[in-house]
């Protein structure tokens, strides 16, 4: 995946979230957010009409591995007061996909004109958070080394349904050296708000994946003879499940173009209490 970055930014550079969002808000940056504002959690976006919001939030609650809820916004309010109170979901994502009746009808760089009074925004945790933790823990992330998109697969595993929402879980795969599998599980398990520990280790066939070399989305990565494929719940799941219900209107972020929050990744560490666990007066 070709990566275009705001001037002066590269992977690993220290840019605070507001600074990273500024060129996005101005419409000057429409590329991937991978590597931007390192150390801060990024999020998947799903926007549905209020009449579907209850069913969708319950779906996410029942399926925390693919759909870890970071924030649910008030109906009609585009400001995520908990995760980035100075931002606006309508402008601060590099690119959006607009769907009608489950069909992609537009890809845009803001949704000011598309916004509705009954729009309810959902921000869901993102694998960028746990990939950073893996790398810090000495577990290499293959698709980052190759500068490709993580391989993703539609499995045969049913999500727990809620109302009209239901469907198969999508997983992402990262090959991990056999001696580092435990560490990968432990490190990502501390981050349930960013998909948490793998949903499965080592048996793609049992997930209905006929050939790991042929992902349904993203790019294939090689798996060495001493590596085990680890499968994590994937943030594509809520989008695909929501679209299966053919909502009259829905908006999501474009792939790889995530929402950058003000929440430090370490705030998602459940051993430190987890997100929203702290209370100040």
């Amino acid at each position: 995946m070709a990566v275009t970055r705001p001037a002066g930014q590269k992977t690993g550079s220290v840019v605070d979230p507001a600074a990273a969002r500024a060129p996005i808000r101005a419409g000057d940056y429409t590329g991937t957010t991978a590597g931007l504002a390192p150390g801060f959690a990024q999020a998947n976006l799903v926007v549905v009409p209020a009449e579907l919001a209850f069913e969708f939030v319950v779906f996410c609650h029942r399926n925390p591995k693919p759909c870890p809820l970071l924030e649910v916004l008030e109906p009609g309010d585009p400001v995520p007061h908990l995760t980035a109170p100075e931002s606006d979901l309508r402008t601060d994502i590099p690119a959006y996909r607009v769907y009608r009746h489950g069909e992609l009808v537009d890809e845009v760089t803001d949704i000011i004109g598309d916004w509705r009074e009954d729009a309810v925004g959902f921000l869901l945790g993102c694998s960028f958070t746990f990939e950073e933790a893996l790398i810090e823990a000495g577990v290499p992330v293959r698709h980052q080394e190759l500068e490709t998109t993580v391989p993703m697969y539609r499995t045969n595993v049913d999500c727990r349904p809620a109302g009209s929402f239901g469907g198969k879980m999508v997983v992402s795969m990262r090959p991990v050296h056999a001696t580092k599998v435990s560490r990968a599980v432990q490190v990502t398990g501390r981050l349930p708000a960013a998909h948490g520990a793998p949903v499965q280790v080592g048996d793609p066939a049992a997930l209905g994946i006929a050939d790991v070399a042929r992902p349904d989305y993203g790019d294939p990565v090689p798996i060495a003879h001493d590596e085990i494929p680890l499968f994590w719940g994937c943030g594509v799941t809520p989008q695909s499940v929501a679209l299966d219900s053919k909502p009259e209107w829905m908006v999501a972020h474009s792939p790889g173009r995530m929402f950058i929050t003000d929440v430090p990744n370490h705030e998602l560490d459940v051993l430190g209490g987890g997100f929203l666990a702290s209370w100040t007066k």
Copy 2:
């Protein structure tokens, strides 16, 4: 608090959840569920009309310490399919409180006649789970030793509002020996689905509690000179906040009369993955 138990059951006796629920369902037991089906999670019940369900689920998500969501039921469905699929919320709790416009209008032993097609049930984690963990870890629980009800306080801390729901957090207090405070934090911190770690340690005045010897609910307990008061988010909070909004109709469990789930307490241990983290085909 006087405790009446089903014939043959006493604190610590091993009774499975279905066996513990049977006399409750039959109307033969209306006492506290403390100590019943040890090892299995119990839950607070809140039932609101569907029109308030979205706001209430978002309130719980934003306030996970006082309001840890275990399960949200489908509108009109009294069966908690995730936490006790053979049970029925309308009959399997020893006593219920029925509210109209925020006023208690009835206390009943089943809600078959009160149930509505638009009723949405919420089950929230309960401190019985973490008290069991504290005792297993060698941290005594004072009010259990005294066979009284845990002291609870209305604080000056605002919950994060959602829609029409908002209000002060209620906390419960347990005094812990200074050398065991860390252990108490660590043990309960593993159980975010049962209120998790304390919201505050050692400073009642900062919570707006003028006199710890005079709780707003429950019974006072002595605090020894070498003990520190630990304050946990309390399951009374969601009930009190929901009632503050004066919903036209609402049902909750009666104090101490909880719903007994089929979920082992250890399933709530976030270091073991946490509730709903496991997937089977």
